[in-house]
């Protein structure tokens, strides 16, 4: 399982107020583990999906107010748009989309006024 140590380079972007939760960073170049779960003793590992990315982001990058980012069932809160390489994540399989190296994931909060 030499693969389990590799990471994926993922560009995360936050806008529409999401950046406030990430210390005002609009773009984060993250190195995301390629296989989840991270626990070495786990029997079966699967390639990282958006579901894993969300929980990983929440525990590693999120600065405050997790309830404004994570919703029920381990997804993002309703009202947050997720774009995978510029396309709506609903078209890419939502939570089950498997991340690839150099993917660009955008989180846009629609909970703004204006």
């Amino acid at each position: 399982m030499s693969q389990s140590n590799t990471t994926l380079r993922i560009e995360l972007q936050f806008s529409g107020g999401m950046e406030l939760l990430f210390d005002n960073q609009k773009t984060i170049h993250a190195k995301v583990p390629a296989f989840f779960p991270l626990d070495d003793s786990a029997e079966e590992k699967h390639a990282a999906t958006i579901r894993d990315l969300i929980s990983w982001t929440a525990s590693n990058l999120l600065k405050e107010r997790p309830e404004l980012f994570i919703g029920a069932d381990g997804s993002v809160r309703s009202g947050i748009l997720v774009l995978v390489n510029g396309a709506d994540w609903e078209l890419e399989g939502e939570l089950d989309y498997e991340l690839e190296d150099r993917d660009e994931i955008v989180f846009i909060s629609t909970l703004h006024g204006g």
Binding site: G16, E19, L21, G79, D88, L91, H112, G113, G114
Partner: protein
């Protein structure tokens, strides 16, 4: 729509989605490009999405205002800096800029003459971020320059105002209404806690020139003074809901003023379908159902000389966000205070708006037609037949007759044991109120006393001088504002009892309502200007002071005769 109807609708929509899905993964319009955006059940590629959104916007504009117009009007775009209003500015620009060959060939008049952009800077209300001195915020986080430069990019004339300018005498209909209103309660302080009765709110018009000694013609109030006043008022709101609602009223008052100043007869707001749906539920919840049609419709003609349109009313917030993203439109990040309040307040503190927001967006995730259903349902409402002159002083919306009576009948505020004491005060307020004329002439007229408002409450007129005469404020308000103001911190207000000591009452009231409120109160009482209002009270005060007993007798005379008749 009931649940049983909802389900077949869902399947129809899904069926349609299935039909479209012949070209799975491809745009439903061109069917050649890979789809990148889903809007409800439809999938689009980027170019087709932009075309679809543009035509949606054009349809809405045409519905709001027929294309065949004789005189083109000026339009004011309300631009907060958020994605929706940012999209509004851009869509208007696309709509209004004809390709040169069309512009020169056809001699068609322009549909909109001039396009103006206005912005309200709310940076003074933002919480200081860590390590920042409170004083620095206004300068460093001001959104004005950014908004100005965005407007300049489109070559539109820009009008900017800061939210604290709501306290400037200039931002009123008469543009120099130099007075603010303070609120006092009809109950003494010590009774506030014990009596469950909602106290009657009285307003007192206080000329600003008297309170600020500065003599220059230049702005009477410094920026900081205005900010302090605004913060004091918002601080007196004990719930986040009340705070947000009051701020929203100030915002709309300023927007209307901005539109009028820019010689615009149309004010375009960037409310998206999602926002309108949330607004519909929120307004219903906070008791603003009466003015709801005006606040959510595609076109509202409520405000005199200024139509309000919402051309993005059919676009979901998701579409607008995507639109801004695709066009690389520059947004202003910290553009409204509400967002900041949400971020900084603890998670458990939620306003009604926030809760409805969560409710609608949560529901819309599972049932993507929620927003559209709510909007379509509310679009059937017809605006109430109220006159603009009789507008609510705070929200400038329509006022329904008999508001206080209705509220009293449906509200239980006292424990059964206390009823004896409260009925007397009830009767007292009722007499006072009905003679004021609740909000229109036909209000609950059990007492047809034709006396002028000031004379009916002898207690008030005898103890005060012209600058601090109080008038009933509760009776002028619409139901929504009356309900909302119950969340004001009454302890910070002076009571009527205290008001005999004038110097104290002036200082003890910790917050003041802005000049536009004072102006509307004076107008609602039938005076054209502040001067006229002052004069009348100078004349009236001595007259009533002569014999308060006689005055009281005149007030209740009708009842006295009635009871005599019965005895005989």
């Amino acid at each position: 729509m009931s649940c049983s109807v909802e389900e077949p609708t869902m399947t129809v929509a899904e069926k349609r989605a299935k039909d479209r899905a012949v070209h799975v993964g491809f745009c439903c319009k061109c069917k050649t490009a890979k789809s990148t955006i889903t809007v409800r059940y439809a999938e689009y590629c980027d170019p087709c999405f932009l075309i679809a959104l543009d035509s949606k916007f054009r349809t809405a504009l045409r519905n709001a205002r027929p294309y065949r117009v004789i005189t083109p009007e000026n339009v004011m775009l309300a631009f907060s800096g958020g994605p929706s209003s940012r999209a509004l500015v851009h869509l208007f620009d696309v709509f209004h800029s004809l390709p040169p060959e069309v512009a020169t060939n056809k001699k068609q008049p322009k549909i909109y003459n001039d396009i103006h952009v206005c912005h309200i800077d709310e940076s003074c209300l933002l919480e200081p971020s860590q390590g920042q001195e409170p004083q620095d915020i206004t300068s460093s986080r001001s959104t004005m320059e950014q908004a100005r430069s965005i407007a300049a990019g489109y070559d539109y004339s820009f009008h900017g105002v800061a939210i604290e300018d709501i306290y400037d005498p200039e931002w009123t209909d008469s543009r120099c209404f130099e007075a603010v209103a303070t609120l006092i309660t009809s109950l003494p302080k010590d009774q506030l806690a014990t009596s469950g009765q909602a106290p009657e709110l009285l307003a007192r018009i206080i000329p600003t020139s008297a309170t600020s000694p500065s003599e220059e013609d230049a702005p009477k109030l410094s920026r900081q003074e205005k900010i302090n006043k605004l913060k004091a008022l918002l601080g007196a709101c004990m719930t986040l809901t009340a705070k947000e609602t009051v701020l929203q009223h100030f915002r709309s008052s300023l927007l209307i003023q901005l539109a009028k100043r820019g010689q615009c007869t149309i004010l375009a707001l960037g409310d998206s379908a999602t926002r309108v749906a949330i607004h519909i539920i929120e307004l219903t919840a906070i008791g603003r159902g009466y003015s709801l049609p005006h606040e959510t419709s595609l076109l509202s003609s409520w405000v005199q000389d200024c139509k309000v349109i919402r051309p993005l009313k059919d676009c979901l917030v998701k579409e607008l966000d995507t639109f801004c993203g695709l066009n690389d439109l520059e947004l202003i990040e910290h553009h409204n205070a509400q967002l900041d309040w949400t971020m900084k307040t603890k998670a458990e503190v939620k306003s009604i708006r926030k809760l409805t927001d969560e409710f609608i967006t949560g529901l819309d995730k599972e049932f993507p037609s929620t927003v559209a259903t709510v909007c379509r349902t509310a679009a059937k409402l017809t605006p109430p037949e109220a006159t603009y002159d009789q507008k609510c002083p705070l929200c400038l919306g329509p006022v329904q007759a008999g508001v206080q009576d209705w509220k009293r009948r449906i509200t239980v505020t006292t424990a059964p044991g206390e009823i004896v004491t409260t009925t007397s005060s009830n009767a007292e307020t009722e007499t006072k109120e009905s003679s004021y004329g609740c909000c229109s002439s036909d209000a609950s007229g059990c007492c047809s006393s034709s006396q002028r408002p000031s004379c009916t409450s002898q207690q008030t007129t005898t103890t005060t001088t012209n600058s601090s005469t109080s008038t009933s404020f509760s009776s002028l308000l619409c139901y929504g504002c009356l309900t909302n103001l119950r969340d004001l911190d009454l302890k910070s207000m002076a009571s009527q009892e205290d008001s005999s000591d004038e110097s104290m009452s002036l200082s003890s009231s910790s917050f003041k309502l802005p000049p536009y409120v004072a102006e509307t109160i004076v107008h609602r009482m039938g005076f054209a200007s502040l001067d006229e209002f002052d004069h009348r009270f100078m004349d009236a005060a001595p007259a009533t002071a002569v014999d308060p007993q006689e005055n009281l007798r005149a007030q209740i005379q009708e009842f006295l005769i009635a009871s005599d008749d019965e005895e005989e």
